[in-house]
């Protein structure tokens, strides 16, 4: 295997006695769209700021094409960045903002003008050259910020929750634009968000941050189908967890017991040693089948229906197990199994043990 394009190696950052991130290890390919996904305070921005050179790591190294970046000051790193807050230069026009990186590089007038035109076309803001930032909407400002960050063809572009201040519809619109721009420019992007949908929509791979460490790195489907920790399972997709006891485990799969006597065999197991212990069984609401009558084959879980919620194309069925734990099922609208279903009915849930996970 060849050396990675961008290598984040064993990064740790302490603020006094607080450790913001530790053991952050990532190998990023050229042209990859890598997203840092995690809740607020999990260390995503800190990692990004270390890449930008605004923070020095307490330990670890950043290598771009094999060479350490840490000794290079921010303004010489040639890294582009779009910030969470609006950071256009307020006294400059849109064209002057986009041309700024070229101007400080002492490029000629003609070259700057041509590049500004290209960039405005890239972000679809032709005709906005002479606007001032204050006269533009948030979405437009962030698109100009993107154009400015890309104007000097940086090898790496950092984006720290650039859309978090925008409303949902506009956010989705600009996500499409970002995706297109990534494909057109082939720039390597490190993108920070706390929104799983945004991460899934944009990224080639996602690094899930939790409390300053990366829990798992993988493509969206990988993280969804095979979460390494309970945290990842909770963060990507909808999930329900049932407490269970692990009867036996070979380290890869385990037999677990729900309630007093419902045994699920051969469930992929994560964490914990062998032997008997408590765990949590992950169920995905949309991967559960619902039966109105007890099926002939064994392995279905009887539950009591608590209520139905209509969610457009889906219907959400809330239910309770015999021992009182909540579990949800999601079925497409109009599905036969929910016709006439009402509160208090007993139904049977079926699921494939190999598609569930147990965390202990």
């Amino acid at each position: 295997m060849t050396a990675p394009y961008l290598h984040i190696r064993g990064i740790r950052k302490d603020y006094g006695s607080v450790t913001a991130v530790e053991n952050v290890d990532l190998e990023i390919r050229r042209g990859e769209f890598m997203t840092f996904l995690g809740p607020s305070g999990s260390g995503k921005s800190t990692t990004l700021y270390i890449l930008a050179g605004f923070q020095d790591p307490t330990a670890g190294d950043i290598l771009l094409e094999g060479k350490s970046l840490l000794q290079t000051p921010s303004h010489l790193r040639q890294i582009g960045m779009v910030f969470q807050r609006y950071t256009l230069f307020p006294h400059l026009t849109v064209a002057e903002n986009i041309g700024f990186p070229l101007k400080v590089r002492r490029k000629g007038r003609a070259e700057i003008d041509a590049k500004v035109r290209d960039m405005l076309r890239l972000v679809r803001l032709e005709g906005f050259e002479d606007r001032k930032p204050a006269d533009m909407s948030g979405g437009q400002q962030q698109r100009v910020a993107l154009a400015r960050a890309l104007a000097y063809d940086p090898p790496v572009l950092l984006m720290d929750e650039p859309l978090s201040a925008l409303d949902k519809k506009l956010r989705e619109e600009i996500q499409v634009e970002i995706r297109r721009i990534h494909q057109e420019t082939e720039v390597t992007i490190l993108y920070v968000t706390h929104d799983q949908e945004e991460a899934l929509r944009l990224s080639d791979r996602i690094a899930v941050f939790s409390k300053g460490v990366i829990d798992q790195v993988g493509t969206g489907p990988e993280l969804y189908a095979n979460p390494a920790t309970r945290f990842v399972a909770e963060f990507i997709g909808d999930s329900d967890f049932l407490t269970c006891s692990v009867l036996s485990s070979d380290g890869r799969t385990a037999d677990v017991r729900l309630g007093s006597d419902f045994v699920v065999p051969g469930v992929p197991v994560h964490g914990g040693g062998g032997g008997r212990s408590a765990g949590a069984l992950l169920l995905r609401p949309e991967r559960i089948s619902l039966h109105r009558h007890q099926p002939a084959e064994a392995g279905t879980l009887p539950v009591t229906v608590g209520g139905l919620t209509f969610l457009g194309s889906n219907v959400h069925v809330a239910a309770t197990t015999g021992w009182g734990e909540p579990v949800a099922v999601r079925l497409p609208f109009g599905h036969g199994a929910i016709e006439g279903l009402s509160r208090g009915d007993t139904v049977w849930l079926g699921f494939d043990p190999r598609a569930t996970h147990v965390f202990c």
């Binding site: 605004f54 921010s74 910030f83 230069f89």
Partner: protein, 266 residues
């Protein structure tokens, strides 16, 4: 709005009356002086028996008046320069710096605003006596700097606090060195603060009289000091013209502030 002016009923007129009275109280003495400066009476009789430009002619014919006006301008200009420069550096430390006692230091920078000027003047007089600075431009500038600096620090720290540091960071990532980013982005963005600092520093020095009386020598006097000493010797309407000119420059500067503020907003 909860307390709308339109819905106040007759209270509205009470407010209008109070505003009018306060305005009159503030403005009438100035208008009075201005009127006297154009009056023909040697004894400052009001209302003036007839109108004349004589006192202005006398003002501009007397080298001592012109000299002190020029001294005032020079000192005010130097005070402005240093006040904004030092205020800018201090503000960066006070807003961006992370050190113990930052709040205390900021409060300390503002103390000259609440300290009685006379106390300051006596202290500086005694101190400058040892350094031989009394009666020198340097002494004047240093003394006025003490009272002008709080205005600069206040105006510039306010502007800097309202400026998002991320904007400067963005400029650095665009390839500007930290210093270049400050000059190309931060300073223009806090321009309104620098401008206010400059104007208030200038005006503080321009019409300051207490410190100036202590710093002045027979050969080095600012315009307010000249007015003051002349007033004690003989009562001539030239004083009224000098005062009017003093106020005129102040008003012009305030108008400039209003215009520039409008420019910054749009």
């Amino acid at each position: 709005m909860l307390l709308s002016f339109e819905r106040l009923g007759w209270w509205k007129w009470v407010l209008v009356a109070i505003t009018g009275l306060v305005t009159a109280f503030l403005l009438l003495p100035i208008l009075f002086i201005a009127a006297l400066s154009f009056g023909s009476s040697q004894w400052l009789i009001f209302p003036p028996p007839s109108w004349t430009l004589k006192w202005y002619r006398e003002f501009f014919a007397d080298p001592r008046w012109l000299e002190s006006a020029w001294t005032s301008l020079q000192i005010a200009a130097l005070v402005t320069l240093f006040s904004v420069g030092i205020g800018l550096c201090a503000s960066f430390a006070l807003v961006r710096g992370k050190f113990r006692g930052r709040e205390t230091l900021k409060a300390f920078f503002l103390t000259p605003m609440i300290l009685p000027v006379v106390v300051l003047a006596v202290a500086l007089y005694a101190f400058f006596l040892r350094l031989g600075l009394n009666g020198t431009v340097t002494g004047f500038v240093l003394a006025h700097l003490v009272v002008a600096l709080p205005f600069s620090v206040l105006a510039i720290t306010n502007a800097l606090e309202g400026f998002d540091k991320s904007i400067e960071d963005a400029a650095v990532l665009c390839g500007a060195s930290p210093l270049e980013a400050k000059f190309r982005v931060t300073l223009p963005a806090i321009g309104h603060g620098l401008f206010s600092a400059a104007i208030f520093s200038f005006l503080t020095s321009w019409d300051e009289v207490v410190l100036a009386i202590f710093m002045a020598s027979p050969t080095l006097q600012t315009l307010p000091v000249r007015i003051w000493t002349t007033l004690r010797q003989d009562l001539t309407p030239v004083i009224a013209s000098a005062s009017t000119l003093l106020v005129l420059l102040t008003i012009l500067l305030m108008l400039l502030v209003a215009l520039v503020r409008k420019g910054f907003k749009s």
